[in-house]
């Protein structure tokens, strides 16, 4: 699974993307955020307030309750401030 990070999520995790093989018990967006937060200090800081993190799967916004896709690109980022 490809994970991509933006803005302060990217800065805190310390990289803009990575390939990750998820354990089979990680099935939803919320589970992914919980699992990632345990991967190290950067992840823990980035995902501290998990409810604030926005998630897109294959370029579309999804809720934290959404099931993860079989493959593709999952993006984690802060609330958007464009426009």
């Amino acid at each position: 699974m490809k994970l991509v990070y933006f803005a302060w999520v990217r800065e805190r995790i310390g990289q803009s993307e990575e390939e990750i093989t998820l354990p089979p018990e990680v099935k939803t967006v919320a589970e992914l955020l919980g699992w990632l937060a345990k991967r190290g200090d950067g992840y823990a800081t980035a995902l501290e307030h998990a409810e604030a993190i926005r998630v897109a799967v294959n370029h579309e916004h999804v809720d934290h309750t959404a099931r993860l896709p079989g493959d593709g690109e999952i993006a984690l980022f802060p609330p958007m401030t464009g426009g």
């Binding site: 302060w8 993006a75 464009g82």
Partner: protein, 153 residues
């Protein structure tokens, strides 16, 4: 039939007049054109620049979805959205929406709707570079979320 929105995500500037001209040239059915230009505003005289990060691919896709929804919802004759990324100095352009229609209320509402949704759904993030202080990410505001709620049907 809904118009096909013109979506561009780019580092370079845009030219307002050319975008409006493109929407009206040779046509006789356009009665109203509303444009919204968002500029980099200086927060208290110390801002050196904004840095706009974006999610390539999703930025175009998400703006396309928002614009498509506007084109379904209002009978527009044309709709253009241009959003810049990268380093932007105070006074420079950030975003342009051009909505054209037969009638004025249609054009106003579509442009207004577009901006409310761009603010809260398009994957862009602003970081401020200011004299004498650390770089800082701009926080999203509750107001932006509320603005989007105005369009619930």
């Amino acid at each position: 039939m809904a118009c096909v929105p013109d979506i561009r995500v780019q580092a370079g500037d845009f030219a307002l007049a050319a975008e409006v001209e493109r929407m009206t040239a040779g046509r006789r059915d356009v009665g109203a054109v509303v444009t919204f230009t968002g500029l980099c505003r200086d927060e208290g005289g110390r801002l050196e620049a904004l840095e706009l990060e974006h999610y390539p691919g999703m930025a175009e896709a998400e703006i396309g979805r928002i614009a498509g929804e506007a084109a379904e919802r209002w009978p527009l004759t044309g709709l253009t959205v241009i959003h810049r990324f990268g380093r932007i100095a105070p006074g420079d352009n950030i975003v342009l929406v051009v909505a054209a229609a037969s009638h004025r209320r249609t054009a106003f509402e579509a442009a207004d709707f577009l901006m409310d949704f761009l603010k809260s759904r398009a994957p862009f993030w602003k970081k401020e570079h200011a004299a004498g202080q650390a770089e800082q990410w701009v926080d999203a505001t509750a107001k932006d979320q509320e603005d989007m709620q105005r369009w619930r049907r």
